[in-house]
């Protein structure tokens, strides 16, 4: 029989392997945010206020390119669209909970916490899972604390590394590595090629709106390629 405590610990345990993968990205984010000119305090605070690796990396690049706030915020929205999917699939599992639990688990709904939590929720019958929100809390808090500590370590490291190392180049390399992982089929490749070409062509547009335009063109071409 599951108790809040056993569910909580099981959530932490399931999250552990993912923490290994998240730690280097926290280090890289912290280091690069500093090199991009974001002061240490807001760079660190971003990890608890936003708590979304991809949005934080994108914002770091846009900050360093001098993009205006509206472009950074709209890009954050586009990058976070996938959270609607997570939110919708978590909804039936959280329905009986009090609002405070819904708000707390929504705050902790990162890619990594979602992945293990929804797998757990999908694998059980509903009779034995009265305490399953504790599982989500365990997974979410494990990811949260790892993200905060690895970011802080990265900010500390970033302050020691001189600019001749050109560490800012690690940011496009990070995006390149993540891009490769996202190219799962031909429509995805089509979306990436269209977005890349658009970004180059639109580079002279003011306020870095080229990124937003490129993302929208890429998504449209992906949908089109899927239909063919």
């Amino acid at each position: 029989m599951s108790s809040p405590r056993s569910e909580f610990l099981a959530g932490i345990r399931a999250e552990l392997p993912l923490l290994l993968g998240v730690t280097p990205f926290g280090l890289i984010y912290g280091t690069l945010a500093l090199q991009a000119g974001i002061p240490a305090a807001p760079a660190l605070a971003m990890s608890s206020i936003v708590l979304a690796g991809s949005a934080q990396f994108v914002a770091t690049q846009l900050f360093s390119a001098g993009a205006p706030a509206a472009v950074i915020l709209f890009t954050t929205l586009v990058v976070n669209l996938r959270h609607l999917l997570y939110s919708a699939s978590m909804a039936p599992h959280l329905r009986p909970l009090r609002p405070i639990w819904k708000w707390l688990l929504a705050y902790l709904l990162t890619d990594e916490a979602y992945a293990v939590t929804i797998t757990h929720y999908g694998s059980r019958d509903h009779t034995s899972t009265a305490h399953k929100h504790w599982y989500g809390l365990g997974a979410g808090l494990a990811l949260w604390s790892t993200w905060q500590t690895s970011t802080a370590a990265g900010i500390f490291l970033g302050a020691q590394i001189p600019p001749v190392w050109q560490l800012d180049f690690a940011l496009p390399l990070t995006f390149l590595a993540l891009l490769r992982a996202s190219l799962t089929d031909r429509p995805a490749v089509a979306a990436a090629v269209a977005a890349g070409v658009t970004a180059v062509l639109a580079a002279s547009l003011p306020f870095r709106v080229g990124l937003v335009l490129a993302a929208l063109v890429g998504m449209a071409v992906g949908l089109w390629a899927e239909r063919r």
């Binding site: 890289i28 180049f169 490129a214």
Partner: protein, 105 residues
């Protein structure tokens, strides 16, 4: 522009997307095209983020052999495609840039 305001706004937007359908479940449905388009967000945004700093390191298009970041990123791209390993891609890309700058000061 204060970073604090932007970060606060990003926090609100991120939290709102995560909480939205948990609260509105059953009352709101999104158009099907939004769900289908969602899987193209990552390849599209990432490709756009990769090309600008690599092809236009100084703001204008630079496809010459003097663009060391382009050469290093091309190597990293080949590694990424073959190995599909993030840390290997980042590590070899940085190493390539350092070596290029060391041989061609």
């Amino acid at each position: 522009m204060t970073p604090w305001l932007v970060i606060g706004g990003m926090g609100v937007i991120t939290f709102a997307t995560r909480l939205s359908l948990i609260l509105l479940a059953g009352r709101v449905t999104l158009p099907a095209i939004v769900w289908r388009a969602m899987r193209f967000v990552a390849p599209a945004v990432l490709a756009a983020l990769v090309v600008s700093p690599i092809l236009q390191p100084a703001g204008t298009l630079d496809l010459s052999a003097g663009n060391e970041r382009l050469l290093a990123a091309t190597l990293a791209g080949i590694v990424a495609w073959r190995a599909n390993n993030a840390l290997l891609t980042i590590g070899l890309g940085m190493a390539a840039l350092w070596i290029l700058q060391w041989v061609r000061p």
